[in-house]
Symmetry: C2
Subunit: 200 residues, 2 copies
């Protein structure tokens, strides 16, 4: 998830408000456009700088009924467990992005399958898609941004040591879809929280 890193020399995070127009470099002001319903960032030339929520994509990689989770080595959620995942890139499909992030963070090769759920977090302007994936190769080893990769059975999920509320939601939905449970078709709970707490 490089967009979360605070790198020396790259201080602009997506949470910061744009100040200058990316089309012409002039200063932005806030204005309500005709027939629009909320303020937008507009420059003196009339270019609009649209802002959009971001998409995180990830997988629950499964082999033999057990799900692989990764322990994060960086903030947010350092030392805690999550699905492998990260920000979707322009030009890749959600499934391709989920597979790429899984391979980067767990060194497992996977085939991406059904969507487990879409988890919306308006306080951080992120929507997370988590897919079930079949492990088809590789070896479970730490990769980018992770310190450990381990497989858990449905009764072994480290519920109190998860990095994000979306990991809890996706694992809950995965466990409920295992044999002996029915798949859920209920609406996803909307989680509200503090934009500063690093939750995704």
């Amino acid at each position: 998830m490089p967009q979360h890193d605070v790198r020396p020399g790259y201080p602009l995070t997506l949470g910061e408000e744009p100040l200058f127009c990316p089309a012409c470099g002039l200063e932005l002001v806030t204005r309500v456009l005709e027939e629009d319903h909320r303020p937008r960032l507009v420059c003196p030339e009339g270019h609009v700088t649209w802002r959009n929520p971001r998409l995180v994509v990830g997988t629950l990689p499964v082999r033999g009924g057990r799900v692989y989770l990764a322990r994060r080595s960086i903030e947010p959620g350092a030392g805690r467990w999550t699905y492998p995942g990260g920000f979707l890139e322009v030009g890749e499909s959600a499934q391709e992005g989920a597979r790429r992030e899984t391979e980067e963070e767990t060194q497992l090769r996977v085939e991406v399958g059904r969507l487990i759920g879409a988890y919306s977090r308006p306080h951080t302007a992120v929507v997370t898609l988590v897919y079930e994936a079949e492990v088809v190769g590789g070896e479970a080893l730490p990769g980018v941004e992770t310190s450990e990769v381990r497989a858990f059975g449905p009764d072994e999920i480290p519920w109190t040591e998860l990095a994000f509320t979306t990991a809890e939601s996706a694992l809950r939905d995965w466990v409920l879809a295992q044999p002996g449970h029915e798949p859920r078709h209920e609406p996803e709970m909307v989680v509200l929280g503090d934009p500063a707490d690093g939750d995704l």
Copy 2:
């Protein structure tokens, strides 16, 4: 979907490449950052301008086993049928955005329920979430960007007059989840196409 409009005075679309840094207004260059895997837009001050795919959210509003579709009055897809939907805004949940767009475009009040599917279109860098919704009030009338709103039974879907491939995918998944069919748990097909054709 105001981000699709070509408005006099607001020529910057999200498909255009940013030229100037939104943090400081300096010119952007393309560069691969340390430990990153693809080129990014960076200014001389070291600010990164991240680019992200966008999220479209919509509903299939259902009452008495029939689904309401809207006929679009603007491009792309003018004159053709679609789910009501549009771009998710910063600060709203996917479900809230889907409800807002539905009310704007069909004048129906809805309660948003289960996710029907997530449809990825990498050629336009859009991911679309379509929810099933229960109609709880309002009157089916054209609204913003629509010329007609009409209810269709599962056997009456205007398959050859749909505006977007995501409308076809979502309606296919909805029809297959009706009584007499089994809900699908297969991976969503990835649709490739021409970025210029206006498909979502």
